[in-house]
């Protein structure tokens, strides 16, 4: 056996080989791959266009197309309704941002309570479990109704009465339960050896959680967490049933006034304009997370 391989300690990367020229066979392979790729691109484009044309023709040829066109796709109506809906949409964004911060805080608190083992927290642990069971089980819309109409009816001192605030409370209650479960899964996904390594260094339970387990847990569940936030962004529209002038409510008023549904389409486009970039962002994170996992297990 050899213990004297100190040379291996300071390995240098191999310098680029300047005299290397690809062989004829390799160049031919590359040519073939390029032509195959070009062909595939053409096929993909052609199929997509054909599908779109077929779908469009099917819609236009349907007997009710004239009516749908004037009721849903009225460009003058679209232009006149958009400023109002956009103003309403700003409220959706505000509700989304405020709710997101509160949800993360509450969700994290619940997840931590559920994973810690200290005996004094047993009542809190029970409460957290009941909370998650209940609020994940109740439809969000129902919760908006219950909080929106039920909380003011209690006539307690200091309860908010603005509909949008009540809506945010309902969304927070519902989504915190989901986010808590996602975070809990993340905390459990960190390998026990990591916890052992931290404890072996003398870190106590709290320090281990704070410096070793939690950072890795959050990294592991970032994509599903973002998914929940994309859903939340859409669900801010549920608050419309309480009456605040957000995008859906604004579109509804305009649609009822003009007997034309185009404003709904405008509202839908606004939501899509926000959720699509968010979705792409989540996809990218997910891909990066997958690559990282491969890199770690691949050696």
């Amino acid at each position: 056996m050899d213990h004297g391989t100190t040379a291996a300690l300071n390995q240098q990367a191999t310098p680029p080989d300047e005299n290397y020229r690809p062989s004829d066979r390799e160049r031919e392979r590359q040519r073939f791959r390029r032509s195959r790729k070009r062909r595939n691109t053409w096929i993909a484009a052609l199929c997509t266009v054909l599908c779109l044309v077929a779908l469009g023709a099917g819609a236009v040829a349907s007997p009710g197309w004239e009516r749908v066109h004037s009721l849903f796709l009225d460009s003058a109506e679209f232009r006149s309704s958009l400023p109002g809906i956009l103003r309403g949409f700003w409220l959706n964004i505000q509700m989304f941002l405020i709710a997101e911060v509160l949800i993360l805080g509450l969700g994290l608190l619940i997840a931590l309570v559920r994973v810690t083992r200290s005996p004094g927290l047993q009542p809190l642990r029970l409460a957290a479990t009941v909370y998650v069971d209940v609020f994940r089980g109740v439809p969000t819309l129902l919760l908006v109704f219950l909080v929106g109409f039920g909380l003011p009816a209690l006539r307690l001192q200091g309860t908010p009465t603005q509909p949008w605030v009540l809506g945010v409370i309902a969304l927070v209650l519902s989504y915190a339960a989901y986010v808590a479960e996602v975070l809990r899964a993340g905390l459990n996904s960190v390998h026990p050896a990591q916890r052992n390594a931290a404890r072996a260094l003398g870190l106590n339970e709290r320090q281990t959680l704070r410096h070793v387990v939690l950072p890795q847990a959050v990294r592991n569940v970032l994509p599903p967490l973002l998914n929940d936030f994309i859903a939340l962004q859409k669900d801010t529209a549920l608050v419309a049933v309480l009456g605040p002038l957000e995008a859906l409510r604004a579109a509804q008023i305009k649609a009822d006034y003009d007997f034309n549904y185009t404003p709904y389409l405008g509202a839908a486009l606004l939501f899509i304009a926000v959720t699509i970039p968010l979705t792409r962002f989540a996809d990218r994170l997910q891909r990066r997370a997958a690559q990282r996992t491969w890199a770690e297990t691949g050696r």
Partner: protein, 247 residues
């Protein structure tokens, strides 16, 4: 002879119905390197994990210095601060840089300032040939580099006792040497080390004492020379011929 640093008496450990450690007696004196050898499942790793309080023993006692580690009233966190352990699978923290891996315990547990912790960490990295890897994350390092970083992490808190749990078993053969060099260096500096290993040649080279474990007991114990070249017990002989034939 002075009191041994680590004193293990009658330690027993079961997992469910499986008896892993039957009754272990072992002394490790200060500045000694003691190697545990034996087949897989013989209890080497379990013994180390018991010493580091990652497992609770089912009987017997373990003393470090004058304190009893196996006292359930003992604050395990305080006891672990005196012991450093290095695992087979490195178990570096993947979300932290190599430097932060090493300074985490000194800063958070021992209250060392960031500046001072980083200075000591860089000295350790320098000694282990990792000076240029301080800011890298563990997944950018080779197995041998990761294991050397893990040893640096265990040393950063200046433990009285080091536990090495088959630290070269996950490494490619050409990377084993660089890790063992580090261990030789630690021995020369007078650290007290208890290690489980499969590297018989290395055990002979570095160990003051070699213990052969089988079925949860220490079957044979003695100097490296005696146990490895002139084993008295048939079980030891069988094991060594099996291992050395394939080496």
């Amino acid at each position: 002879m002075t009191e041994p640093l680590l004193r293990i008496r009658g330690v027993r450990k079961e997992y469910g119905s499986r008896l892993v450690l039957r009754s272990i007696d072992l002394d490790v004196a200060e500045h000694q390197v003691v190697c545990l050898i034996g087949g897989s499942g013989s209890g080497k790793s379990t013994l180390l994990r018991c010493v580091d309080l990652l497992e609770t023993v089912d009987d017997g006692t373990i003393h470090l210095g004058t304190g009893e580690l196996t006292d359930p009233r003992l604050d395990a966190n305080l006891a672990r601060r005196r012991i450093g352990i290095v695992f087979q699978a490195y178990n570096l923290f993947p979300h932290l840089s190599v430097l932060d891996n090493i300074t985490l315990a000194p800063r958070r547990v021992h209250g060392v300032s960031r500046k001072q912790a980083e200075q000591s960490a860089r000295e350790l990295l320098d000694r282990f040939g990792l000076a240029d890897k301080a800011q890298e994350h563990p997944d950018r390092l080779s197995g041998g580099q990761q294991q050397r970083a893990a040893i640096a992490r265990a040393l950063a808190t200046e433990p009285e006792l080091l536990l090495f749990d088959e630290i070269t078993s996950a490494l490619d053969p050409e990377l084993v040497g660089e890790v063992l060099d580090v261990v030789t260096d630690l021995k020369q500096r007078g650290l007290t080390i208890l290690m489980a290993t499969h590297e018989m040649g290395f055990a002979r080279h570095v160990a003051d004492q070699v213990c052969f474990l089988e079925d949860g007991v220490i079957v044979e114990q003695g100097t490296a020379e005696q146990v490895l070249t002139d084993p008295r017990q048939p079980a030891t002989r069988r094991f060594l011929s099996r291992v050395l034939d394939h080496a």
